[in-house]
């Protein structure tokens, strides 16, 4: 290939890459625009700071504070539980098991499969178990199902990075006499950026998930005060208001969507900031 052709080839390739970015940006901005255009004008402080009044879902006064708080409860609790389970799993897979271990192979395939299961299936699964145990829809049920949903995401994301931890680093830690469990401090510091990314992914997945919590967390007009009470969530709030016939109620659904987007943004940025703070030592 002549030198000139090479540069033309590069230009074409660059054009395609730019085009892909623009297509993605176009749709993202379009979604944001659609949400903001209908949501922002009707979004008031009353909506985010008060509980739904008597006729909120037919257009009377009130807000969706119940859904905001319910969503935050479920997301924060399930992300914490998810991390507490996923980090030890990843640590075990990469430090205790050898690279060609059959068990690790099977476990990784299992997590891949779980990764792809839609949240409605998790919801139905959780619902079956709750019926079996005689539980009613509750905050606890929602938290458990969301934890199940995000654990595979956390594990797969962390595992890809943990696989690349240099053996030298682990050897260095072992060679001053630390046991494998003491090496978790080294591993966690080394994969801190991945923990941030995984946390962001899972927050995004669990806060936007409506199907999983529909059967398990239920819906209520008040803020749950105990784990056994039903809890409202923002996606469900959006769903109920969007299915109302009144236009002003539908607009409120968009306002709820705006709040949802802002919460995701805040959680993402703070997660990234905190983890960057801890990952400055990475090799």
């Amino acid at each position: 290939m002549s030198v000139k052709l090479k540069f033309i080839e590069e230009k074409i390739a660059r054009g395609f890459m730019l085009l892909s970015i623009l297509i993605v940006l176009f749709f993202v901005l379009n979604v944001l625009y659609a949400v903001l255009r209908r949501g922002l004008p009707v979004l008031t402080w009353e909506m985010v700071s008060s509980l739904p009044g008597g006729g909120f879902y037919i257009g009377k006064e009130g807000g969706f504070l119940n859904a905001i708080v319910g969503s935050l409860y479920i997301v924060l609790a399930s992300t914490t539980i998810g991390l507490l389970i996923a980090i030890p799993v990843v640590f075990y897979l990469n430090t205790y098991l050898k690279k060609t271990d059959r068990f690790a192979y099977v476990a990784r395939i299992a997590y891949d499969v779980l990764f792809g299961i839609p949240s409605i299936v998790y919801g139905a699964f959780g619902f079956t178990i709750m019926i079996y145990l005689g539980l009613r829809a509750s905050l606890l049920g929602g938290i458990i199902v969301e934890s199940l949903l995000i654990i595979p995401i956390l594990i797969r994301t962390l595992d890809e990075v943990a696989k690349n931890i240099p053996q030298d680093l682990l050897d260095s830690s072992y060679s001053i006499g630390s046991t494998r469990i003491e090496t978790i401090g080294v591993v966690v510091r080394q994969i801190a950026p991945a923990i941030a990314t995984a946390t962001l992914l899972s927050i995004g997945r669990s806060i936007g998930d409506a199907a999983g919590v529909m059967f398990t967390a239920g819906f209520s007009d008040s803020i749950p005060t105990s784990l056994s009470q039903q809890a409202a969530t923002l996606p469900l709030s959006v769903f109920f208001q969007l299915s109302a016939p009144q236009l002003e109620v539908q607009d409120r659904a968009y306002a709820a969507a705006v709040v949802l987007t802002v919460i995701v943004l805040i959680l993402s940025l703070s997660g990234r900031f905190i983890m960057n703070f801890f990952s400055k030592n990475k090799i």
């Binding site: 240099p166 260095s172 072992y174 060679s175 401090g185 510091r189 703070f277 030592n281 990475k282």
Partner: protein, 287 residues
């Protein structure tokens, strides 16, 4: 050392500042009891990795307070032998070992549980490529002491400073002890790794081509450190550079295809090799 401790260290050291100045007097005393018998001897060691015979009937005894160089062409089992001495071979797959490796009265091959960590504390490793832990400079040196139960800040301060001075790094890093260790140059990182190994008071230092990734000046510094350190430690060194072995070795072990061909004091092996393979290797016929 749990996740909670990790977080608390990070938090504490993100805001902490170095607390001492150079004029402060300090003394470092021994923290761990020295084993009564620290002889290291390998007897009739055979090692297989996935049915490949890597070490064949290896018998060597490591002299005390000397620099022992293991030389030989690539793939002759030098590194494997070194990693067997402190049981780091455990991390490899499909390992089968027979024979004896004795550290004092302790059998290294059959050691279990806390015996292994104690062996590894006593037989430190300086890796091929500098590999600081993902922590600050201070924590890198203090890490070993912390996991072995020394947690008092005042005591750790003394230890960190002592060992950083021992490797000649103190003057260079004293103003940025809480900076990430990966900000140091490669040569400094290797000296930091050395300080980290020394801080847990080993009797032996295993150096697996510790200077091969360094520039000439840094590797000269490491070599000088080894020569200085052999007063108190026995050093076992794998090296690819024959000239390095000529410079600093007191005792030489020549290996070829998993067998020990010749071993003895450096001047005897270098000046009057008994075996034809050794002669050929020293004259540069193969490498």
């Amino acid at each position: 050392m749990s996740i909670a401790t990790t977080f608390s260290w990070s938090l504490r050291h993100a805001f902490a500042r170095p607390t001492w100045t150079l004029t402060e007097p300090f003394a470092v005393e021994r923290k761990f009891p020295r084993p009564s018998d620290v002889r290291l001897a390998v007897d009739n060691l055979n090692l297989y990795i996935n049915d490949a015979h890597i070490l064949k009937n290896v018998s060597v005894s490591i002299p005390q307070n000397k620099i022992t160089c293991i030389i030989g062409p690539s793939g002759c089992g030098k590194s494997t032998l070194l990693r067997t001495l402190n049981r780091l071979v455990d991390t490899n797959e499909g390992i089968k070992i027979s024979g004896n490796v004795n550290f004092g009265t302790q059998d290294i091959i059959s050691a279990k549980g806390s015996d292994i960590t104690e062996i590894r504390r006593n037989i430190g490793l300086v890796p091929q490529r500098p590999c600081p832990l993902p922590m600050s400079i201070y924590d890198n040196v203090a890490y070993g002491c912390r996991i072995h139960g020394i947690r008092k800040k005042a005591k750790l301060d003394v230890i960190v400073r002592h060992y950083l001075e021992a490797v000649g790094l103190w003057e260079e890093v004293k103003s940025r002890l809480n900076a990430p260790a990966n900000g140091l140059s490669i040569g400094q990182q290797q000296r930091l790794c050395l300080a980290r190994s020394l801080a847990v008071e080993p009797s032996y230092l295993l150096a697996d081509e510790s200077t091969s990734a360094l520039d000439p000046i840094s590797s000269k510094k490491i070599e000088e450190l080894f020569v200085k350190l052999k007063e108190n430690y026995s050093i076992v060194m794998v090296t690819h550079t024959l000239r390095q072995a000529l410079r600093i070795a007191d005792y030489v072990i020549f290996m070829y295809l998993g067998e020990v061909i010749e071993q003895g004091p450096a001047n005897e092996v270098f000046n009057n090799p008994q075996h034809s393979l050794t002669k050929n290797y020293l004259s540069g016929a193969f490498s």
